[in-house]
Structure formats: structure tokens, C-alpha cells
Symmetry: D2
Subunit: 330 residues, 4 copies
């Protein structure tokens, strides 16, 4: 349930509602908005009676949330969530490009890539210091050393850093260095890690599990939100299907659907899904239209810097067209 | 195997090669090109010896085809196939929009839609007269009457007509009326129907089966090509996956991959895959970028005419950007 | 809707109900039963009023059918359908094993296999004379010659014959020779073929399409039933999934679920799904337990005759255990 | 690579080989066998030269392992791994039934179920104290209290306990109480948890992730094995497919295939896959045949005790038939 407060409600009104919620053994999440404050209620096993809250002073309306995910739902928050990363914003309607190598390999590699991505027009640098790998015998990342190299690349370019945390033990360390903490597809249902990420003050980029339904995906986001971290960014990265011409099937249609039922921003990662350099530009152009504001691509591994620059410029040109007409077509 | 002829080869040279192929119990398919003529060879159970053909007068080279699909492969034809529909071309790099209702329902409905699609800027009208339906109790289409109504709509608007054939018995009738004969997803492996479509002089729009791999899809096209009809247009329309937020998962990444290994043009149909009016514009914008020249959408059922006009204009503006930069980024 | 007649109802009662149904523009299907006769009603776009029928003489009850498939549903027929094949029955609780090669290749091959299958204890012989193949360049079957060879094998062994029809043009020919006409997975949604099969007096073995949901599958069966042929046998043969250790994923759990909502017998074909000789016995033992009465396996191609004999004996022993305890455990 | 030692090899021979492996920067895993000792080598990025090891005294042969998983492969260990649980063994060819509720709810519930399962003939009790739940608002388990209740049920019945660990923080606690530590499907690619489980002295039951290929699954097992814990038991529990008549599609054919390439025992869990009480007995009968020795079912939630007793008895009878004939049919 969301309890929407009246415009001029007082602190006492808010406190009274919060207490009323907690007296029922439930949790109250204060959701400050531009025009009005709302209070999200979670923890109720079944539907609540709106009357019990609408009677309280300062309350405009109490609205039941029909989705299994609550804080993530559009019902709870009809406005798009905007996540600030450095001086930039994700989810405000502008294009935001994250680029970089899959893994940080050494000082030269990450610095060169960062400079190339910067001049190509990327908005953030990504690179893995901790890597979840299918085989225990594959390179598992440079760990803390990788994080230090990322920080140096940030210093040199001004690009904020997106990097993955793979367990609770190193999550704090990753959060110290990262501007955005990534939770990878393989950990999307590692609920203990999600709960811990919900206690961070940093934005969390949550990648869709390779067999997660949209509901599973948004419930995973809900784990982070429910612990108090509202800065969650979603990312579609391809799902497992019978169709094996690419490693994964990029499920682009999840983007408009997620945006209907959920207020969180959503990225698309075309490089892991296709797994082939040739297909990345085509899918990147495709990808960001449903969600005109974001794109995440893989730098060195997939595209040469010059290719990146041209692709990003093309994306911005298309974004301008889509934004201009967006109201008309919607 | 493809046998590429020298530039100034004579009719006799061609006839000699054709005979040599047929003497081996194989089939020879003459593939005329702008610069050179080639002869496709099919029917061989294993690899052929190139020498046997390269010795013949007028032969430049004999190239084995490694893919299971032969005539459909890029090895057989490195140039993009362009299919002419009325005065227009599909696959020449321009945008081509097919729009219209799922089924022809009555005279007013199809005429109104056709006029609206025409003024919105569509390039062809589609509508089903014969409908393959999951349930025997659902409306199965108007049949011949539907074809007559489509012909009247073509007369009034000048738009060529795309309509589906569902069996061998009525394929001839459909081909009499249609400018492009559609083979639907449910019949993609109805090989007897494909063989019959391969004897038509009309272009065939072949929709991907809902669980067809790329290889299955191109082998289905091969059935049509192998019978002598080179005018095959592919169409991605969504596949069956666990992901149930939409009816089907539109597998956009099949487009760049198909174009790497196959020379046939490929459309994308966003309306059947999403099954929801809201998601169509987003997926349509996404869809045609991988393949900058085509888009197929569902008219009345999904989008109102004004929405269509705005969407199609947006698609053309994006197509211009993608085309302009395509060489650079590729 | 199913209209259940009273025990002693007269011919006139039946005729009156049939007329009442047809007067509404609907179809009446007389379903004779051991204890009572029922009339299935199809063609109604929405729910019907039971009262209109319950008022008629001889009518016990009129029961709405909630499933999209009507004649195939348990609501329409609570008893298991038993299909007679020669002197044997499919669906009566006994084990029924269909075995044989994928394709009829020549006289010796099919005769030898038939004799081996007979002595191994198979109940029917299968073998393809018309083969739907992914590639137009693969062997498409011996056609009529194959049917003649099958007939000779039947003569020599007494085993009834199961063989596939791939199009309307040759369906009649196949039905002349076959004891059971198979519709393959690739044609499960070839609705025109299904309708034609619905006019046969022969049993139809309908294989599940590789991406068919249970509802799709039963609606395909409904196409046959709706045309008047009640002798439909279902067959699970594996579905397309991401899981690629075998060609297809045998979806055994469809068997108990199908039997809950549908009265038709259901076979399982372990050989095509696994695609590997080694896995067939394991899956065959697994397969038939959900449905203790049937199993379909691939003979020569997969198992040597001696292996077949031991497997079939093992299946019968397990069937005895399952049957003995079936009431207790259900 | 596996280095197989000669029958009468000395401790010094073994130590010399181990040193030679470690000198190359690789890891040596001593694998004691009934007849011979072997040493598994892991950590090599590419193929190793067998000669370098075959020259050493006491070495019979050095065999390269072609699979990406090494310690889990049949090449490394041609014998079936047998895991001891209390006085019983898993993987020795006998039937082993694990049964119990999804979650431990309270003292009475778990004690009653344990007694019922014991008298029905189960071999181990399972029940979740820590539960990974899709929604943060669902019951997450009783935690340590649940473990204590399980221990009491073990005391009363003698049944060993199988219970899940969901994170590194509580893994040690779970291992203190459990006889077998379960890693659930959602954590199958939580590699940090797997590594930690590899340091336990307790058997680990690893459930297949819902979109894990067989290779992913065996590589996850490899994470545990590579850390030194050889007591890994696999468990198939259903995969995500388009087929939605059940929650998951039980992929039974993974069992014979896994056993071909891997020496670890494998269970099947029919209750979570079907999600419906009615389908459990059918799938349980099906499930255990490919792997005649094990079955895992859900007790109270799914089956009433009397049903359980009858099902388990039926399973044992079938197991006897399958075991008796297993050599003949293979």
C-alpha cells in the first residue's frame, strides 16, 4: 500500500502515519516527491484496509499496490526514478553510455581504454575487478588491485566507475571505489547479497538473471529497495532460449514493459548478449530506442575506439529524434 | 557449390556447365548477377571436386558452400538480394513499411485501414484472408472474399498487398491476388507448402517459426529457393521463451546474424511479438535499426492511424541516420 | 457445453436435442458412452444457457466446458478414450509399445526390423514413408513404395503400422495403408492437414510441436476431433529449450497434466528427444510410468533387437507394479 | 590431466609426482581408488605434455581431460563416486529417498513429518531453515531455530538431515547441524558460496540452476571439488522453458547424460518442478529410473504420509527390476 500525504502535511502527520504502520508490525518507507510525500507500506501478508489510514490527519489517499513488488512499482511511484551518478543523471531522458572492458587486466589496458572511451563520448567506465566465472580455472579478476586501477582511470578521465561485487565479503570494498556497484546476472537471486547492497549509499546496477521473468527481476530490485537503498538501475543483458545463434537472446521488449509497471531506469547491454563484435552496433542502435536514455556497451573487447565514437554519435542523433517525437507516438 | 563464370562467358559455356552438373544427377540453378553469372549446384550428398568444373571453358571458379543451406547462403551470393514489389524494392537499403490489420473483416474495415495506412506513409498493405488459428472455433478468415476486398483496397490506394496462404489447395488462389504471398510461422516447416511456393512467380514472405533456429529458418527458405523461386523475404516475428511478459520474445539479434550468412532481405514484425499496443512503437523503433530498410507493423489492431504516421516518419528519420553512418560503424 | 442424456433416453430425445443445437447455428457431436450418451456442443462464441437444454425431454444435465478445447476435455468426457488398433487397444491401461526405424529404407531393412520388433514384443511397427526433413537436400522418404513395404511387413508379422502423412495430397494414400496415421511435430499446427485428418476413419497419432504449449497441443487435437474423428492419440516427443545436452528436452510432466484435463491416450517418444542410443533405455523406463500403458521407441536406429527385447520386458514388469498400486498412490 | 599411478607405487612416488605438478604452478588432487591411486591436475591454462609425468617412477599413465570440468569428469574418475551419509551411502546403486517439507515451520510440524517420513521408508529428512525467496516479503525461514528443530527430528528418527545454506555468513552454522548441506538452484552460480562449501568436510547437495546447461552445472560442482571437498551430490529440479503447464520442466534426460560424463551421484526432485501434488507420484516413478538409486521428494506439502509410503514401496520394487536388468539393457 502507498499512503499519499496531502500537500501541506506536517512532520507530526508523517510521524503519526509511520507509527500507525509500525504498530501493525509493518514497515513504513518514506518516499519524498516533488509535489507530495508518500509512505510505502510493506510486510503485510494480505491486503490492508485503506480506511484505517485515510482517517488520519494529513493523509490524502491510501492506495493498494497490486503487484508483488511494491516499492519498485509504478503504483508506488508514478514518476520515473532518476539516479544521480557524479554530476550526471540516469533516467532523466538523456542518453547515458557505459563502456569499457569486461575485466580490468592491467594498468595500461584500463587507462588506454578509459581515455579512448572518454574521447568517444562515453558517460561512464565499466570494468570488472571481481569476475564471476563459469569455470573455477578461469581468470577471476585482479580484485582490489583492479579497483585501484579503475580509480586511477576515473581520476584521469573524470568518468564515473561501474564495477561488479560478487559477494558480501567484498561488497564494502567495491562500494568504496565504485560510483555504481553492479550485481551481475548470476547473482540476481543471491538475496543475501542484494539485502547487503540495500544498505549501501551507492547506486546499484542490477543485471537481469539469464532465466529471470520480469517479476523475478523486479522482486530482486525490491530486495535492494526494501533495505532502504532507492538508487537501483536495472539492466537487460540477454536471456537463455533455444535460439543459439548468439550466446543469449537480448529481450529488448522487456524495456517498455518494465517501464510500464516500474519506475526504475533500465539499461541494455548488447555486448554480452550477442557475444560477437559484428552484431554489437546493430543491437546497440536497436536497444536504446525503447529506452531512449541509456545504453551500455563493451569497449575494447568488442568495438575499436573509432567504432565506439561513431556508434555513440549515432545513438545521440537517434535519441534526439525519439525524444522529440516521444509524446506524439506514445 | 557455386560455379562462378568468367565475365565474357558464352551461352554455350553456360549450357556446358549446366549439362556437366546434371550429368552427375545434380541440379543447376543459374544465378544471373550484375557483373557475372554464377551457377548454384545442389543435390550433392557430400562435397564435390571443384577441379571437375574449373576445367570447363568459361568457368572462373568453383566454390564449395559450407552451410547446410546453399542457395540462401552468402557464399552462394555475396550481394544482397533485392525483391521487387510493384514499383518498389525490398532489400535495397531503403525503408519499407508493411502495415495493416491482422485479418480482413469486412469491406469498410479494410478500405478505411488501407487509406489510413497509405496516408500514414506505409509501403504495402497486409491483411489475412485465410487465417491459421490455434482453435478450430476461432474465425478462420473470409477466404476468397477477403482476397477480393484486398484487391479493391489496392486499387484505391496503389499499395501492394501481402497476404497469407495456409495450404497447397488455396495457394494458387492467394497468389493470383497477392503481390507478396506470406507463409506464416505455424507453416514454416510445412515443407510441401514451401515446395509449392517455390514454383510461384510471386515473392514469398516467410515468417520464422516460433521455435526455429536460424538454420531451420534458412533451410525453410532454401525449400522455396530450391524449387526455383528466388524472391524470398524473411521475417522475424518472435520466438517462444520462458519470458512471458509478452506473447513472444522478439529475437532482434537474428537480423544482423542472418544478414551475415544469408543474402535475403529480412523484415521484423513487432506487433505479433509484443501483443500489446503500448509496446509496438518502442519495438518498431528498435527493430528496424539492425536492418535499416524494413519494418512490418500491425495497423488498426495495434496503432491508430495518427500514431502510425508519426511512427513511420520517425522510422524514416532514424533510417537516414543509420544509412548515413552505416559504412563507418560496420 | 456437454449435454448428458438420461440413461433410458430415446432416439427421438437425441434427435430433438441435436436439432435444438443446430437451430442455434452450432454443431452437435454425439458421444456414445458405456453408461450414458452425451452430446458435445461446439461453435458457440460465448457461454450457453444450460436451461435451454435441460428443459428438453431425456436430458439429464447440460455442463459448460471451461477449457478452450472442448471435445478433448475431461469435462466433455470423464472416461479415458480407448482407441482400437487391430485387435489391440491403446489407452485401456495396458502397455503398448510402438517400435521401428525412423524411415523405411528398403525391403530388407523394414522386413528384418519388423521381425525383430515382433519377437522383441512390440505391439506396433512404425516407419516413415513420407519424411518431413529440415533440409530440402535430405532423403524425403520412399513415398508409396515405402507404404507397400510396410504393408508387407504387417502381413509377415501381424503388427499394425504407424506411419506419417505430411500433406493433404498424400493423406488419403497414407490412410489406405496405415493402421494409425501419424501427424508429425512440424505439422502440428498445419491446421488444414488436421482438418483433413479429422475426416478419416483411421486413428491419428498427433505429435506435440516442439514449441507447443499443452493448450496448443490439445487445440490441435481438437481440430481433428471437431471434424468427426474421435480416434486421436497424443504423443510427447520433446520440446525446444536452452538445454542442449540432447536434441530436445523430453517434457514428461506433460503426461500427468494432459491426463488430468484431457481424456485422450498419450504416448511418449524417447528416441527422437534424446537423439542418442545410450539415453533411450533410461528415458523409456522413465517415460511410461506417468502413463503406464504406452511407450514408443525407435528400433533399429537406436536399439539393437536384443536390447529392445530386454527393455520391453522391463517395461512390462514395471507396468505391472505401477498398475497394481495405481489406485493407492493416486 | 589425470596421472594414474601404478598398483604398487610408494609414498615417495606419489610425493614426487605431486611436487612435479606444484613446481609447474599447478594444483595436485590426490584421488585414492580401490585399485589404484590417481592424481588430478588442475590450473593449467592449456594442454599439458603427458610425457613429463609418465617418465616419473610409479606413474602408469597421464591422461588429458578434454572436458572443461576436470575433477567432476569421468575421464578423471571412471568409477561412480559414493557419498556416505551416516550409515548409508548415496550412489552405490541402492535407492535413497530424501523427503520432508519445503520449510521448517515449527516444532510439531517438523517432528510429525519426520516420524511420518521415517515410517514411510524415507532415507533422509529435508527441510529449509534458511529459505531463499523470490520476494523479500515472503517467509525467509526460522534460521538457527529451524536447524535446532531439525536436529531434534534427527535424534527422534535417526534420519540424516539435508538443509540449505544461502550465504557464506551462515554456511558454517548450517554445516554444524546438517548431514548434507544443500546449495539451492538460485545460488548455483554464487561462486563464492561454492568455494566456501568446497572447504567443508560435509557432503554438498548441489541443485541445478533453472537455466544452467549441463556444463554450467558440472562446472559449479567443479568449484566445490576444486577446493578439496569430493562429496558432491547433484540434483536436477527442473528448468525454465516456454512450457508453462508446470512451474518448471523436469529435465530427466540430464540424468543419463550427466552420468556418462561425470562420476558424481545425481538426485531428481520432482516436487518443486511440478508444483502440483497430483503430478508428483507420476514424476517420482519416472524420475528415478534413469538413475536407479535416488529420489528426492517433498513430504507433507505434497504427499500425505500414506501416499508417501506407497510411493516409496513402489519405487523400491521398480528399482529392483531396473537393477536386475541394468547390465543387459545398457
Amino acid at each position: 500500500m502507498v499512503i499519499v500525504m496531502k500537500k501541506g502535511c506536517t512532520r507530526e502527520d508523517l510521524a503519526r502515519v509511520t507509527s500507525a504502520v509500525e504498530d501493525l508490525g509493518l514497515r513504513a518507507h518514506v518516499l519524498p516527491g516533488v509535489d507530495r510525500t508518500a509512505i510505502g507500506v510493506t510486510g503485510n501478508p494480505g491486503p490492508l484496509d485503506p480506511d484505517a489510514f485515510e482517517r488520519l490527519p494529513g493523509v490524502a489517499r491510501a492506495i493498494p499496490v497490486s503487484q508483488p513488488f511494491k516499492l519498485a512499482s509504478r503504483e508506488m511511484n508514478p514518476n520515473d526514478t532518476v539516479v544521480r551518478v557524479g554530476k550526471r543523471a540516469i533516467g532523466d531522458g538523456g542518453l547515458f553510455v557505459i563502456a569499457g572492458p569486461c575485466a580490468v587486466e592491467n594498468a595500461d589496458q584500463i587507462m588506454e581504454t578509459a581515455l579512448a572511451m572518454k574521447s568517444a563520448g562515453a558517460d561512464a567506465l565499466r570494468g570488472g575487478a571481481f569476475k564471476p566465472r563459469s569455470s573455477p580455472y578461469s581468470f577471476q579478476g585482479l580484485g582490489k588491485e583492479g579497483l585501484i586501477l579503475l580509480a586511477k582511470a576515473r581520476e584521469a578521465t573524470g568518468l564515473p566507475i561501474v564495477t561488479e561485487a560478487v559477494d558480501q565479503a567484498t561488497l564494502g570494498l567495491v562500494a568504496e571505489f565504485a560510483d555504481v556497484v553492479q550485481i551481475g546476472a548470476r547473482n540476481m537471486q543471491n538475496y543475501e547479497l542484494l539485502k547487503r547492497a540495500g544498505k549501501l549509499a551507492k547506486p546499484v546496477l542490477l543485471k537481469r538473471g539469464m532465466s529471470a521473468t520480469l517479476e523475478d527481476f523486479l522482486l530482486a530490485a525490491e530486495y535492494v529497495l526494501a533495505e532502504g537503498n532507492p538508487h537501483v538501475i536495472l539492466c537487460e543483458r540477454g536471456i537463455r532460449t533455444f535460439s543459439h545463434h548468439n550466446r543469449y537472446t537480448l529481450d529488448l521488449s522487456v524495456v517498455p514493459t518494465a517501464r510500464e509497471v516500474c519506475h526504475l531506469p533500465i539499461f541494455v547491454d548488447p555486448s554480452h548478449a550477442t557475444g560477437r563484435r559484428e552484431a554489437v552496433p546493430a543491437m546497440a542502435r536497436a536497444e536504446f530506442h525503447p529506452s531512449p536514455d541509456e545504453a551500455l556497451s563493451d569497449g575494447r573487447q568488442a568495438l575499436r575506439p573509432q567504432q565506439g565514437a561513431e556508434l555513440f554519435a549515432q545513438l545521440r542523433a537517434i535519441a534526439a529524434i525519439v525524444a522529440r517525437k516521444a509524446e506524439a507516438v506514445r
